[in-house]
Every structure is written in C-alpha cells, then in structure tokens.
C-alpha cells in the first residue's frame, strides 16, 4: 500500500521549489545508508493484507463464548455496543494529547468525566486522566508515596498479583527503594505480620482488593495499620468490584490505583488496558500523569484544559513526578463510556451479578468429589479450588475434551499451589456454562 499524499507531478514541483533533483540529494550527510530492507517482505495491497492477517488470526484457537474461566487480572465482561462504536470515531482516535484546548474539548471533557467517575468510584478527591495499566499505576503510587513522605521503603501484600509485584520491583529498582513483602496466609494478607514490617521508614503499604487470589482484604484494618506507622495506604482495586465493595476512600486509603480493563475493555492478549490513580487532595501536586482541569475563557465560557503541567516531564524534565507522557486516553474513554452506559444502578447490578454467579458456581464445583475451596474468606468473582490432581493436567484434559479453559493453574506462579485452580465467573457465564465446566472437571478428575 502507498498512503503518501502527492502525485508524481506534484512531487516534481516540490523538488523544483526546494531546488534539488531528488530527495536523496538532501541526504548527503547520512553515512551507511541502506539500499533496502530485505528482511521486511514486499508490501501488500489491502485485500491481501486482510487475507494474511486473517490467516494468522485463524491460527489462534480462542475458547469462545462462555468457555474462558481465567481471570487473574484480566477479566471477560460484556460491554455495551456503544463503547466500540464511539471510541472508533476518528475525532477521538486520530487526535493527540490536547495541547490546544480550544480544539480538543472532546478529549478534555471525556478526560474530566473519567477523572470524576474514578474519584466517585474510589471515594477519593482527585483522579488523573489515566496511567499505562494497573501494575505501573501501583508502582507510580509507591514512587509518589516515597516522594511525599521522604521515606524509602514500601510494604507490599504478598497476595498482590505476582506480575504487579514484578513491575513494582522493576520500577523501584531505579531509585533503590526497599520492598518488604508480607507473605499471604490462607489467601489473605496477614495484617499482624504487616504491622511488624511497618516502621518509620515505610512510605506506604500497598494491598490489592480483591487480591490476586480473589479474596477480599480488610481495607479498614490495613489502612489503620499503615497510618499508625505514619505511612500512606495504597489500595489497588478492581473498579468493577467497586460497584458493590466499600470504596478505598471510605476505608481510609490515601491513594487508589487499578486497571480499568474490567470495565468492558477487550482482553486483547494483555493490552492495551489503562491504569487509574486517585488520591486525597494534599497529594495532587505529587501526582504523575495528565490532569484535566476546568477553566473559563475571556467570555466566561466553561472549558477544560490540561493543568498542573509543571509536574510533568516536558517541563520539569529530570525533576518531573514521572516520565509518563502519552497515557491511555482512548482506553480511558472506553471505560468512561462503559461507566456512563451502565450508570449508577447498572454498575452496582453487574457487580452484584458477579458475586452471585461466582458463589453459585463455587457451590456447584465443590460438589465434585475431592474438590474444595482453598480459602474460606469472602470473595468477589474469583475463587481458588484445590483439586485432587495437578491443575495443569486438569486444565489440559478439560481443554482437549470440551474446549473449556477452566481457570488458571496457580502452579504457574507457586510450585506449592500446583493443585490449585483459580476460577473466575463473571456475568458472561450462564448457568449452562457453569454446568458444562462442572461436567468437564468431573470428567477430568475421574
């Protein structure tokens, strides 16, 4: 394909205006030029390209509707059709960071609405207009706490998503901060042990809600423990679960972060998703990322603009609060539209349905001989089953026989949990879907 703009004749006119015979004549200063790129196949016309990429897609074997019970940080939810239709508008997708607010009110209004929705969901004062994803948002929250408190250690729940822990380690390695991990017990964060880790050098305590194992943590007690040591409390919350769960703000969190993927964002093999970050007011000027604020023009008309920009890298350079530049605006827009379409009662209902369906499913699956819940605490839409066999073998057997992906084999992260299967049941799974899973698991365990 060729998407260049001018005709051959126009190109000749432009060359003449510049005063050269060819563009190559402008490149004399470049050493070691190449003749071509043999490692990149010849270009394709549109139809051939679609055919080729469709062929690749065909080589995937997706589970299909109602058959994927894997969650573990990326959740299958139903999204209203308007979400994709609206974010596909070129006015949103082919514009950039709203540096010129007069001609970017669409992006800015949507950003302000996102900030408001996240602040209301989390029960905190201010949210930014998105981060790369939940894990990097959690890492940025830890860095914020380190800057704000002047302390150099962070305490992290061992029941946090193992990949998020890995991201925290990577992000904090640069500034040399210490990470203390409170290993989980019975699927939850042992707050007694956390208190022992908390001292005057701890900038924040970070916990996930629901945690990686699907269990609900006691945010209020966690906040008290953190504050007793003068540390900030950071809660990493699934925003869909906040439709029904007590908000981090009402539980005492200073910072809430998370990934908006559960708000109807496609799984898309890991991304793009978007992170969110909300804080209490005194932390605003230490926040990373872009913030949209309200302003008036000379005629008194209300408008929106990027504000508090001196926190950012393009102005403060090495003293910026973060290196983040471009964020995940279009994904945040999708989450905004999702939250608006579902609305106040719709979000609560979908969250409630997740709880109900997951609990009904857990009851049914425990009826299989030898299968029991690994943890006895409350959960949202994900739970861990202990199986009489290795989860890995069971997963393969179930997949080969029925096409169902029954859940995540926790042996993937912890060898001592190789008999644990983590199952996620959202509103996308019907009674029949769960019955089919039950039958398939029963078959595999016979």
């Amino acid at each position: 394909m060729d998407w260049t703009g001018s005709s051959p004749d126009e190109r000749r006119q432009m060359l003449a205006a510049i005063g050269v015979d060819s563009v190559e004549a402008l490149l004399a200063a470049i050493p070691r030029c190449v003749e071509g790129l043999p490692g990149i196949p010849d270009g394709l016309d549109e139809a051939s390209l679609l055919r080729h990429v469709s062929d690749l897609a065909q080589r995937n074997r997706p589970a299909g509707p109602g058959k994927c019970f894997i969650g573990a940080g990326a959740y299958e939810h139903a999204a209203p059709a308007v979400v994709e239709a609206l974010i596909s508008r070129g006015e949103f997708s082919t514009t950039y960071t709203p540096y010129q607010p007069e001609v970017s009110q669409g992006t800015l209004i949507a950003g302000f609405e996102f900030q408001t929705l996240i602040a209301r969901l989390t029960g905190l004062d201010v949210a930014n207009s998105s981060m790369y994803d939940g894990a990097s948002a959690a890492a940025e929250a830890a860095l914020l706490a380190i800057r704000y408190t002047g302390r150099t250690a962070v305490v992290v729940s061992g029941a946090m998503h193992p990949e998020w822990l890995c991201v925290l380690r990577t992000y904090l390695s640069g500034v040399g901060a210490e990470i203390r991990i409170a290993a989980s017990e019975y699927g939850r964060t042992p707050l007694g042990q956390v208190e022992a880790c908390l001292d005057g050098n701890v900038a924040c305590f970070l916990i996930q809600q629901p945690n990686f194992l699907g269990q609900l943590e006691d945010l209020r007690a966690a906040a008290e423990a953190a504050h007793a040591a003068g540390s900030l409390f950071v809660a990493a919350c699934n925003p869909l679960a906040l439709g029904i769960l007590a908000s981090p703000g009402e539980c005492g969190a200073d910072i809430a972060v998370g990934d908006v993927q559960p708000l109807g964002i496609p799984l898309s093999f890991g991304g793009p998703y978007a992170g969110y970050m909300a804080v209490r007011e005194p932390l605003v000027r230490q926040m990373p990322g872009r913030l949209v604020g309200m302003a008036r023009d000379a005629q008194g008309r209300r408008g929106f603009t990027l504000t508090l920009q001196t926190r950012e890298q393009h102005i403060r350079r090495e003293r910026a609060t973060s290196n983040i530049c471009t964020n995940q605006a279009l994904v945040a827009l999708a989450a905004t539209i999702y939250l608006c379409a579902l609305g106040k009662h719709g979000l609560r209902e979908v969250a409630r349905h997740n709880v109900v369906r997951a609990h009904r499913a857990a009851e049914r699956l425990q009826e299989i001989p030898g299968v029991r819940l690994a943890f006895d605490g409350p959960y949202f839409n994900e739970f861990v089953l202990r199986l009489p066999r290795k989860a890995r073998d069971v997963c393969r057997h179930v997949r080969e026989r029925s096409g169902i992906w029954p859940g995540l084999d926790l042996g993937r992260f912890w060898p001592d949990m190789a008999d644990c299967l983590m199952v996620c049941v959202t509103e996308t799974k019907t009674r029949e879907d769960v019955e089919a899973l039950r039958a398939a698991l029963e078959d595999a365990l016979q």
């Binding site: 001018s6 205006a17 563009v23 894997i70 609206l86 596909s88 010129q100 040399g176 009662h345």
Partner: protein
C-alpha cells in the same frame, strides 16, 4: 451561549443505558456472601442516562476535536500521519481477542504475528533483538535505561551518569532519573547538533549511556554520529536512540549500522497506530546482541517444532507493566509494516523529508529557520521576528486554528526562541501544504494589519483561550457530587 453539558449534567434519576444479562442462577441477598463491612453504603454517583444520551453526548463532544481525519495536524515530534483503516480492521478480528494467559497452543496465530513484528523491527533498526513489552515510548526509554544499567552491573561496574543533549524530549531526563541516574546535559552547537568535541568533554568512565534523538528535535540529522558513537563506546558507555523521529530514517539508514546499542520505537508515530487523544501507544525496544539477555518482558521465540512461545530473557530487568504488552496496538503496527514493505517504508521517509523541506523552502523567508539548511522530516522555524512585531508563536498557533489547521508544536525544542516545530508527514498532499503555508503567510501579514485579531485568536473555536493561570492556582479536577461546578 450555554456551556457544553457534562454527562453528569444530563443525568436523570431512573434512566438506564444498558440491560444486563438476566440472572439465570438462584439469587441471594448480598449479606449471605459478603460481610457487611465490605459492602458499599451507597452506589457510586455515576450518571443515569439512556443509550441515546450516551451516543449523543460523546458524538457531540467528539465534534469539538480537531483530528487527522478532518484536519492537517503538523504537530512537530508527534508524526501525525494518516492512520489507515485496514490496520484497525486487522486489530479487531475477533480471534485476536485472547486472554493474556491463553494456553500457548491456542495463541499460535498471535505469537506468530508478534514474532514477525519483532523480526521486522530488528531489520528496520539493525538490531539483534526486540521486546514488544513497553506500554509507550517513555516506558521504552525507561526499559532501555534499565537494560544499560543491568549490562554495566553485570560487568561489575556501577556508573552514575546519563548524558542527554539540551534539545532532547523531556522524557529522556525524566526516564534517566527514574532509572536512578544523574543527568548531565550537553549543549547543542551553533549548527543545532551535538558536537563531538562538546560530547568528549562530558564523557568519562562514570557515564552509562548517551541518549540521542536522531534526527534531533531540530529536525536535523546528527552528522557527527559515527564519531559520537566512537566517543561513547571509547569510555565503555552505550549509545541510545530515542526513536521518536524514526519516520525520517526508515528504509534509509538503520540505527544499528550507525553504532546505536539501544533504540525504542514509538508505534503511534512511525508505525501509524492511532494516537487516540494521547494513547494507547506501544514502545518496543531493540538492542544489540550483547544486551539481548537483559530485555524486559518476553521475547517470542520460534521453536524447533516451528511452534511459537514466549520466553523471559535470562537476565531480564523484569517487567514494566502487566502481561505481554499492548497487543492490540502491536497488531496494527504489524499490519502497517506488512502493507508497506521495506520499499514503502523508504518511500514514506523520503516523502516526509520532501514535504518538510518544501514547507521550509516556502516559509524560510518569513519565519527564520533556527538553522538554515535542509531538514529531515520536520523543520523548526522561529517567530522571533514576529514577536518583535507584536505576535508570539502562541498567538500564531492560535490564529492557525481559525484558518482550520492544527498548529505546529510551539516553544519546543526549548533551545529555540519562539519555536514553531512543523512535521507535515508523508501522507499530506502538496495542496494541503500550500494551503497551510498560505495561512501562515496571511497571519504574518495580519500581525501588521490587525494585530488584535492575531493576539485575540482563536475566534471560531468552541471556546476561546482559557484562563490557565486560575485553573492551575485553584484546580477544579472533578465535578462535585452535589452542586454546580465552582
């Protein structure tokens, strides 16, 4: 004229915008499943609107945006080229919508595509290996810096400094700092370039990395690059390419051949994935062979059985975000590269350079170029003579809005007074470029004829210039639940 309402302002109690799948299992009161303390006292105050309310609101506000689909958008350093629709279609094929923990044997198509993208990026940049993991260019920079640090440490060295030119993007020093480095700035010379002699003065055995943008942010090729590479390598440091301006080099010269050890690619620039109003992008990072073991995330490998799988590099610096990467964005980048092929990429770069030089040749008499010589894919002009006549770069930018053009980047690079940084890209026609030049020349005349029109611009946009001082002094960042704004 009334304010454009926010979605919260059109909300009416009891309206619904979507119907949930019916509950086909036995319902139960929440308190049987969740302890009371875990349940939210009141539902969050989300809007209550119908589906049509949602469609109208977001369609209406979308019309308030300027975008590539409607307008020439020569925002320097951002490569606002046309985003082909076919790559959108590719990315939306349902079979690509896999869970990130999908079994390897069920995700072979995606893995093969990602492997192909890695290979093509290696060829494009002359690198040995690529990670597709980083979420954006700035995260790619951070990744590259961590790779450099890990490599030095593996050799038993702890170096403390990263050297960066004064013309660099702000992300470079911010990323270096995040990586734990002290930033040393090297000044550009009178030709707008990093002079090898100035670089030599700041390079020593404590420098881990020199980060260079090439062509640099002045749109000029760093023609001392071979000597620069030698100076950097002589003190045992590594050479990093900020690939923001790769759209000038693709198919013409490969960074690896010039001596770069690490490069990040902004897919939303050179590879035309949509900018999305500020993301999502992706920031793949390529390295030479000696650094490949340190890459973050995963590399996609082809096994002896011809199957594809993910592998964490042996001494990986870890992970920067959850899961493999922004696959949806990477599919678009793959499709774009396959559509163009090596020859198309070269043709793009040549045309981008042609367009920038054409603009430069038509504007250089009126707006002084910072360095008066041919440019690469963008040209940096200065409005300092216009400032003397009463209108600043910002005024000219705002007046361009009235002429129906998105302005260039202004006031960057920081080293240019009243900078206008214009990047036309290859997808614009001569007709568009001419209309843009005519508008700028007309504005230049207006500065003398009707200065207040220029200084008070824009006049035709949904809102005028906003009071950003008050917005920053007393920030209003969310809409209060009860009561009006302010």
């Amino acid at each position: 004229m009334t304010d454009i309402p926010l979605i919260f302002e059109i909300s009416q109690p009891g309206r619904r915008g979507w119907q949930l799948p019916a509950l086909d299992v036995e319902d139960a009161p929440l308190e049987e499943m969740l302890p009371a303390g875990q349940v939210r006292a009141e539902p969050a105050e989300l809007p209550e609107v119908t589906e049509l309310d949602v469609v109208r609101h977001f369609t209406r506000i979308s019309a308030l945006n300027m975008c590539i689909d409607t307008t020439f958008y020569p925002l320097g350093s951002c490569t606002m080229k046309y985003n082909p629709r076919v790559t959108e279609k590719c990315a939306r094929l349902p079979a690509f919508d896999l869970h990130p923990y999908a079994p390897t044997e069920c995700s072979q198509g995606t893995l093969e595509l990602l492997h192909g993208l890695q290979q093509m990026l290696c060829e494009l940049c002359g690198m040995h290996a690529f990670t597709l993991h980083p979420a954006a260019g700035a995260q790619g920079e951070f990744a590259g810096i961590l790779v450099a640090r890990a490599w030095h440490e593996a050799r038993g060295e702890r170096r403390s400094k990263v050297v960066i030119p004064d013309s660099a993007h702000g992300t470079n020093p911010a990323s270096a700092r995040l990586g734990g480095y002290q930033v040393v700035t090297v000044r550009s010379d009178g030709r707008g370039r990093t002079s090898p002699s100035a670089l030599r003065e700041v390079m020593d055995g404590d420098v881990a990395l020199f980060m260079l943008t090439n062509p640099n942010t002045l749109g000029l090729f760093e023609d001392g690059i071979l000597e620069i590479a030698e100076i950097v390598h002589d003190v045992g440091a590594l050479l990093y390419l900020d690939g923001a301006n790769l759209n000038a080099l693709a198919g013409i010269v490969r960074p690896g051949d010039l001596g770069f050890d690490i490069v990040h690619v902004n897919t939303h620039k050179t590879l035309s994935t949509p900018h999305g109003g500020g993301g999502p992008g992706a920031g793949p990072v390529g390295v030479t062979e000696r650094l490949a073991d340190f890459l973050p995330g995963w590399v996609v490998e082809k096994g002896v059985d011809n199957g594809f799988r993910l592998r964490r590099p042996e001494r990986s610096v870890g992970q920067l975000r959850s899961f493999f990467g922004s696959t949806g964005v990477l599919i678009r980048a793959y499709a774009y590269l396959r559509a163009l092929g090596g020859r198309g990429l070269r043709e793009n770069s040549l045309t981008a350079i042609l367009n920038a030089n054409y603009l430069r040749s038509r504007l250089r008499e009126t707006f002084a170029p910072h360095v008066d010589e041919p440019c690469m894919h963008e040209c940096v002009l200065s409005a300092k003579s216009q400032k003397k006549r009463g209108a600043r770069a910002l005024d000219i930018a705002k007046r361009l809005l009235d002429y129906g053009f998105h302005p260039p980047t202004v006031y960057f690079p920081l080293i240019v007074e009243e900078a206008l940084m214009i990047e036309p890209t290859e997808t614009e026609s001569k007709t568009t470029l001419d209309a843009f030049v005519d508008a700028l020349l007309a504005i230049d005349r207006e500065i003398d004829e009707c200065p207040d029109v220029v200084r008070g611009a824009p006049h035709s946009t949904p809102v005028g210039r906003l009071d950003e001082v008050s917005a920053a002094r007393r920030p209003v960042l969310t809409m209060p639940v009860n009561g009006a704004m302010e």
